[in-house]
Symmetry: D2
Subunit: 143 residues, 4 copies
Amino acid sequence: MPADQSTDRLITETTFYVRYYETDQMGIVHHSNYIRWMEEGRSDYMRRRGVNYAEVEKHGHALAVTDVHVRYYAPAHYGERVTVRTWVESLRSRALTFGYEIIEAESARRLVTGEVQLMLIDRAGRVVTFPVEMQTALLGREA
Amino acid sequence: MPADQSTDRLITETTFYVRYYETDQMGIVHHSNYIRWMEEGRSDYMRRRGVNYAEVEKHGHALAVTDVHVRYYAPAHYGERVTVRTWVESLRSRALTFGYEIIEAESARRLVTGEVQLMLIDRAGRVVTFPVEMQTALLGREA
Amino acid sequence: MPADQSTDRLITETTFYVRYYETDQMGIVHHSNYIRWMEEGRSDYMRRRGVNYAEVEKHGHALAVTDVHVRYYAPAHYGERVTVRTWVESLRSRALTFGYEIIEAESARRLVTGEVQLMLIDRAGRVVTFPVEMQTALLGREA
Amino acid sequence: MPADQSTDRLITETTFYVRYYETDQMGIVHHSNYIRWMEEGRSDYMRRRGVNYAEVEKHGHALAVTDVHVRYYAPAHYGERVTVRTWVESLRSRALTFGYEIIEAESARRLVTGEVQLMLIDRAGRVVTFPVEMQTALLGREA
């Protein structure tokens, strides 16, 4: 089904081994690290669509996080590989929301879901609208 | 007013300097670190009410995070002191929610608000009800 | 030259993108993170030689760090890929030292070198000698 | 003895509770975090001598780490308070070395010792000599 295929292409999957330093004394990944993994997923999502975030910052713009919501279903452990699934949940002129699902790579067990909302700001901290080319790239397929 | 005084006593304030390693290249505190600060506030809240969390874990119980929601209003910077204000938002037999407000200590400017929901689990990962003495301590005043 | 080939095989290279949260407000990777990258290199080194460190811990042993020495030549930046080169510098019955070189992947520019010394301990924290099979695996080639 | 008193005054002690997120699944503080604690000690050392590091950076200078050496004697645990003892080990025109001892606050048990070497650089990354007023402040007593 073409419609499904198309949807699939818009989700970026980023897979890596859990790092030992990400665990805590409960023997699981510390809950704050899933938010860092979502950032890794976001970096990967943009990179694969040709949005060079290092360049965005050099031009005086930055993506500032305005809201984070995470639900925890099961913990990740050292020795496991995890996959961060990243997509654009919504994009308006002044607010961009990424959606996430993090799964244990081998079993596909759902660990965490979440949303991170961002806005684009200039060097003075003022909110600016997303440039059209950035909007197009963000909503497009992997290059 | 007694009612207000009483309410005031139930909020624990934890104040510290922003650490350099908590900043990122945007020149502000990385958004994941506010979640770690909330954990610091929670540790302090429990410690001041005689709930020794290290002891809780030695007895085979652990507080597992099930939901985190954070709203970002303004960023913290290196060189500033911040205050984490922590309180119990709700406590049911199997779900404990802490509420948070993080402010810049000198100006009292609001930086972040949030809620963190936890459940108590045993070594097998099963949800257990909060012991009455823990409930009493959590809802009580600073010792 | 067989001798050189052999030596080359004993270095494990682990390559990844710098993560945004690893930067600090100096606009570079925070100096503490290179030590975490060395741990990632070590995990990868062991994994590729069939030493399952998660299993080692389940059997009641742990690798405890006793000494870290790092020299910083040039900083890594967000947007760059880095390669951690990991090898066994020395292995005695009660002390294992890994050597490291971290380079910027594209230019091969040297960023950091270092050594991390570890010992094997049991659940009581006592130093134990490295099992022969672990020694053999650690000194062997990638599987 | 006045000479000893004088030496004692030049060591800054920074005490705080171990944070839960600083532990790893070995049940102890992750070895990379002691390097972050040394940075906290350094920030505190400078702050108490009137060296405002945030201001130093605003004037286009930065302290870049060039060498870190840490020896680990015993681990810190969640629930403990630790004290970072910080002093200037040596100060030359282009190299500043801080010495550290980290102890468990209640028992005074030695956990870690270390040295961190820094140089002062300008915005172009060039090494500059330490301004005389900074040298004087760094070698002076707490204000």
